[in-house]
């Protein structure tokens, strides 16, 4: 009994959806609907598209702005990520990430500047980054401005309120959120999988395990394989969407909210398991930004950390989520 699968370009990478259909009914229409949903969501929530609903919200000078349900979901998710992590996962750092050099959609290539400058080239980190290690590898911290706290949503009136100028970045949270939303469309299938460029939601009443390979941040073989029955899996890292700044120093898209600059915490990639893909995404970023000491404790459902020295740490779950490592 094989799965029906559909893959397509979306969110600057590849998305795929798979369903197991033992009744041999035609799942193609469901997959086509799910693909259409994700492509439309990308058009509506991309901050790189000037006409998107998100771009219009971010540039709107009103305090309260009418919004469609999807945008309301994104705004609520931005607030929730901030609340859950006490501001460590901050989706309001649009101006900072643009200042760091991430202004346009960037395909996630196999290796970015950070990987090339780091382990792969076997160059000492001090030589790559200049400052001593203890200065460059430190846990990130929340922004004192706590702009995410100023976002509020009203589903009855379908409005989003925030001070003008507080912008939302969909890059860090939207893919997991959308994987969860597509999953709700596929719940009638005994097994399904939604992969939004690495943010994955798995489920189905059949409870059949699915191997989830964790990519190496430096390319090559997978660093670990998880077996997931249901729940979300997401990976965040600093080696893919990375570039060199004007000063030649490696930069990437995961910013330290406290400084507004790319975070180098000692973790180069974090994979998290969680009940939903959105939560997995948040936990992965939270663990990465918190560094190797705190990071494992921020993966309560388990996960995998890759440290800057190339070592791999498989974190065992403190709570069950239908997954086994």
């Amino acid at each position: 009994m094989s799965e029906a699968r559909r893959s397509f370009e979306c969110f600057g990478g590849w998305a795929s959806i798979a369903v197991l259909d033992p009744t041999n009914s035609e799942p193609d229409q469901t997959l086509a609907d799910a693909e259409a949903f994700l492509l439309a969501a990308h058009r509506r929530l991309s901050r790189f598209l000037p006409g998107s609903e998100l771009s219009r919200l971010n540039s709107d000078t009103r305090t309260t702005v009418p919004a469609e349900p999807l945008l309301l979901d994104l705004a609520a998710a931005a607030r929730e990520a901030g609340e859950l992590t006490d501001g460590m996962v901050d989706a309001t750092m649009v101006s900072e990430i643009e200042a760091a050099g991430y202004r346009d959609s960037m395909p996630a290539g196999p290796r970015g500047a950070v990987a090339a400058a780091g382990r792969e080239a076997a160059v000492p980190r001090e030589a790559v980054h200049g400052p001593p290690k203890e200065q460059i590898e430190a846990p990130a911290g929340p922004s004192p401005e706590r702009a995410w706290e100023k976002i509020s949503t009203d589903r009855a009136s379908k409005t989003i309120s925030r001070p003008p100028g507080v912008a939302i970045d969909s890059g860090g949270i939207a893919k997991g959120l959308l994987a969860d939303q597509v999953a709700s469309l596929l719940s009638q299938f005994p097994a399904f999988m939604v992969d939004c460029c690495g943010d994955i939601r798995i489920g189905g009443a059949a409870c059949r395990p699915r191997p989830v390979r964790v990519e190496s941040p430096f390319g090559g073989e997978a660093v670990h394989t998880l077996r997931v029955v249901r729940g979300g899996v997401a990976t965040s890292g600093i080696t893919r969407r990375s570039w060199r700044g004007a000063d030649g120093a490696p930069a990437h898209h995961l910013l330290d909210p406290a400084t507004g600059r790319p975070a180098f915490t000692g973790i180069v990639q974090a994979t998290a398991l969680a009940p939903t893909a959105f939560l997995a995404d948040v936990h992965a970023k939270w663990a990465l930004l918190s560094g190797p000491e705190l990071g494992p404790s921020l993966l309560p459902f388990g996960g995998v950390l890759v440290l800057s020295d190339g070592s791999i740490e498989a974190v065992q779950p403190q709570a069950a989520v239908g997954a086994a490592t």
Binding site: P211, E215, T235, R240
Partner: protein, 146 residues
Amino acid sequence: MEPLGREEAKWRAQAKLAAMRERAAHLRRRVVVGAIIGFALLWSAIFAQMMLGHDPVLGAATGSVRAAAQESFASDPERRAHRTLAPRGESDEEEAGAEPFIEERAEIERLEAAAEAEAEELAAIEAGERAAIEAEELEAVTTGQS
């Protein structure tokens, strides 16, 4: 061949898993019971040995009787002479007492070997279960930096 219906396939898989679990539980029970019997026999043998007078603590009651008997024996030249003429008498008694112990030990060894064989069989069943679960696995997916 007709493809299995969803319910039938599910029912068959559940029945197969239930049968495997039942077999594993049965083997576990046998291993546990064997271990308990072995344990009890071993301690019975040790207790018997002690009661025969080879333990200074548990054999104290009979020990004092033996001591009194030995005193009587030492003061009776006739018996002492008999003892000298028949030095193998006490040794024969020891050998007679050791026979059940040897049998028990053989029984324990047999049970231990059976338990080991059953443990191996159990491991093979568990490996089979793992293989069955792996066969149930869906197509792999890769998570990477999003």
